[in-house]
């Protein structure tokens, strides 16, 4: 980005490029400051707390204890070595596993369903504008409201899901969807997929509308099977949009909190990283320990995003080389 200094002109005056850079900096400064205040500072504070023994009763009395919240190796008098800390906490790894399971399943289902919905909405039909607006409703409802709504619908006694299931003969007995450890994860997944498929559909639809119509016409004239058209034309062309949509959803899913906190707050079968770190931060008076878990959550997200972008690029360049 270095620009050669113009040979002529006064020493004190800046080149056009430098002037532009300086102006750009001043335009960006308010945003950088805001970002620092609302993103970087809290993050740094959390990382700092995770290296101390701070408690919520007095946030300023924490002492530096290094990495003990993450991993602490202690040798007992008997010579036995024991390990403590988040990195060897089975509850934490259970939460990580739950989060991963939840994220992959929900994003996969949402992508497939969203794409199907988008393909339907991309077709010309009467009342398309209305359907497009209507399909966004689940996404527009605040999560806390839809989670509470589903909690009632899934209720074993008064819930409509059980009622319909029983009347249609699909269920033999009423199922307590959110209470049963076998079904709790499915219940949460179902609500999340219901809620965020519209978002995926919208992003896919935006991608689909960018695809030039004449390619389809050419394919039609050549008599290519529609399935082949989808995999050879549509999918490669909307791939960039799809990749962005997937990463948005993935980031959202990996830090999922509200839905699970409302539907199944204390169930070990659905507890995610965010839920468990909040529990330690607030409920258990282990503020520093919870901060360590928040920091790990951040690290996992950061690694995931970097990998995704990196791998995504590798793929893209491989394709452009064809």
């Amino acid at each position: 980005m270095t620009v050669a200094k113009p040979a002529i002109g006064q020493e004190s005056s800046l080149s056009l490029q430098q002037q532009r850079q300086r102006a750009a900096f001043w335009f960006l400064a308010p945003m950088l400051l805001a970002l620092f205040c609302v993103a970087a500072w809290p993050l740094l504070r959390t990382i700092w707390f995770s290296l101390t023994d701070t408690s919520l009763n007095n946030l300023y009395a924490g002492k530096w204890i290094g990495f003990d919240n993450y991993l602490k190796i202690r040798t007992l008098d008997s010579g036995k070595v024991i390990y403590r800390g988040t990195l060897v906490d089975p509850a934490w790894w259970n939460a990580v596993w739950n989060t991963v399971k939840f994220s992959f399943t929900s994003v996969l289902c949402e992508t497939v369903l969203g794409l199907i919905v988008a393909l339907v909405l991309n077709a010309e039909f009467k009342g398309r504008g209305f359907v497009r607006a209507a399909i966004l409703i689940p996404w527009a409802i605040p999560t806390i409201v839809s989670a509470k709504m589903w909690a009632w619908m899934l209720n074993d006694q008064y819930g409509i899901i059980n009622d319909i299931g029983m009347k249609l003969g699909l269920l033999e007995q009423k199922i307590a969807w959110t209470a049963n450890t076998d079904t709790a994860m499915y219940a949460v997944l179902m609500v999340d997929i219901w809620k965020t498929t519209p978002f995926m559909a919208l992003l896919c639809l935006a991608g689909l509308q960018m695809v030039p119509r004449d390619i389809y016409e050419a394919a039609k004239i050549d008599g290519i099977h529609p399935v082949k058209v989808f995999f050879k034309i549509t999918l490669p062309l909307i791939r960039p949009a799809l990749m962005v949509a997937v990463i948005f959803r993935m980031l959202d899913a990996l830090r999922v909190f509200d839905l699970i906190y409302v539907l199944t707050p204390n169930s070990a079968a659905t507890k995610t990283m965010s839920v468990i770190s909040r529990e330690n931060l607030i409920d258990f008076d282990k503020f520093a320990y919870g901060s360590a878990q928040s920091t790990l959550l951040f690290a996992i997200l950061a690694v995931f995003v970097s990998l995704y972008i990196w791998l995504g690029k590798v793929d893209l360049s491989g394709e452009s080389g064809k």
Partner: protein, 426 residues
């Protein structure tokens, strides 16, 4: 929140201006009182504080919170940690005193005449290192609700032991279902994984002679054959006399099933008594209450000691008025009004012999027996770690009830976890 802060700051700034302009020494304060809301608590609060408002000229606004005590605690702890000046008074659960003591005003001096009229054990539970953290508003001890009409119909006696309860519930459930009520259940209680399950399970364990999780001297006693037997017995109810969904029930869900006439027995707190006898209730005048059953002949019944208290925030700008309100709410007049309107159990001993209360709420004198069997949760010995102890306990119980591992396995793991949590001392 930001609106609250600003509105309030503006109001107090305006008020200051008026004071300095007119130099009037007396000024009406506006207080904010935060409390969880179950049943009809919100409507009743306005009625309850009216005499105090009229007498002092201050105004008090109720800030309602979710019914789950775990949710409330999280929010209060955040507010208090941040030193929020928005809330002047907190309605606190009986188990919170040791954990939040630092943030509340010491009421020892203000209540030196009032405190001795309350049950000493309750005042004791709210005293931390000689500091009276909160004043008791009402106490809570759950009881067994039973349908008088159905017990009579099926010739079932009021159960004394848990196995009698299970047998009776089965008979009634089978009978009612055969009569076409497919949604009828024998026994409903609180099985969700939350603080309420700690209360329910502590009762099962204690009434089987299995101790109280952590004894007053700090010993971890939970892993014993009686406790195992108690949990195995409770597990046998799920899916038989209790719906599978009971594992997601809190108080209000259980009351929902009960009050629509779909349960023969219910374990719940006293607030369900008045609501159950309300005009919109399907079980109005059809039910009675008794002490919770015991494991076997010779064991004593156990009811987890609940109850709510009022504490004054150290960060309040109107501490004088707030203390005055706390004193009023914990005093005989307000406690009597609460007892009449909401069947809340008074903590002032003399009110149990009050004729008016006895006539309007015949249940309250009865409840004295329940209250005498009350067992505290181990919040006193475990201090700041109580929430984690409770969470580990309810998780182990919930696992057992859901069929993930036997009671013996889960309690053994729980003992190991608690020992580790305890470390050298609680």
């Amino acid at each position: 929140m930001s609106y609250g802060f600003r509105g309030r700051a503006l109001r107090s700034a305006a008020a200051m201006a008026i004071v300095s302009a007119l130099s009037t020494p007396v000024l009406a304060d506006e207080l904010f009182y935060v409390s969880g809301a179950v049943g009809n608590a919100v409507e009743n609060f306005a009625m309850l504080v009216k005499p105090w408002e009229e007498a002092t000229g201050h105004k008090v606004t109720l800030v309602p919170m979710p019914a789950s005590t775990t949710d409330q605690f999280g929010q209060y702890r955040l507010w208090l940690a941040a030193g929020a000046t928005d809330i002047d008074l907190y309605q606190t659960d009986v188990i919170w005193a040791p954990q939040l003591a630092d943030h509340f005003v010491d009421l020892t001096e203000a209540a030196k005449d009032l405190a001795p009229t309350h049950f000493p054990s309750i005042i004791q539970s709210q005293t931390v290192n000689g500091k009276l953290v909160a004043l008791p508003l009402f106490t809570d001890a759950p009881a067994l609700y039973y349908r008088k009409d159905l017990l009579e119909k099926y010739g079932v006696a009021v159960p004394k032991t848990w196995s009698e309860l299970a047998a009776g519930a089965k008979v009634i459930q089978d009978g009612e279902r055969a009569a076409g009520k497919g949604d009828f259940h024998g026994f409903v209680w609180q099985g969700n994984a939350y603080e309420g399950l700690t209360c329910d399970a502590l009762e099962w364990v204690k009434s089987h002679g299995g101790g109280q999780i952590v004894e007053p001297d700090g010993t971890i006693s939970i892993n014993n054959p009686n406790a195992v037997a108690a949990l195995e017995e409770a597990k046998s109810w799920v899916g038989t006399i209790s719906p599978q969904g009971v594992l997601a029930y809190q108080e209000e869900e259980a009351r929902g099933v009960w009050q629509t006439g779909n349960a023969a027995f219910m374990r719940n707190w006293p607030y369900a008594y008045t609501l159950g006898n309300g005009n919109d209730s399907a079980v109005k005048d059809l039910f009675g209450v008794t002490t919770l059953p015991v494991g076997k002949e010779g064991d004593t019944s156990a009811a987890t000691l609940g109850g709510w208290n009022v504490a004054v925030s150290k960060y309040s700008a109107h501490q004088e008025a707030a203390v005055s309100l706390a004193m009023y709410l914990a005093g005989p007049e307000a406690q009597k009004a609460r007892a009449l309107a909401e069947s809340n159990l008074p903590t002032i001993v003399a009110l149990y012999d009050d004729a008016e209360i006895g006539a309007a709420q015949p249940i309250i004198p009865q409840w004295k027996d329940v209250f005498l069997n009350a067992v505290p949760r181990p919040s006193a010995p475990t201090l700041g770690k109580y929430n984690e102890v409770s969470s580990k306990f309810w998780s182990a119980v919930h696992q057992t009830l859901s069929g993930n591992g036997t009671a013996a396995e889960n309690l053994e793991m729980l003992e190991a976890d608690l020992t580790e949590l305890k470390g050298d001392a609680w």
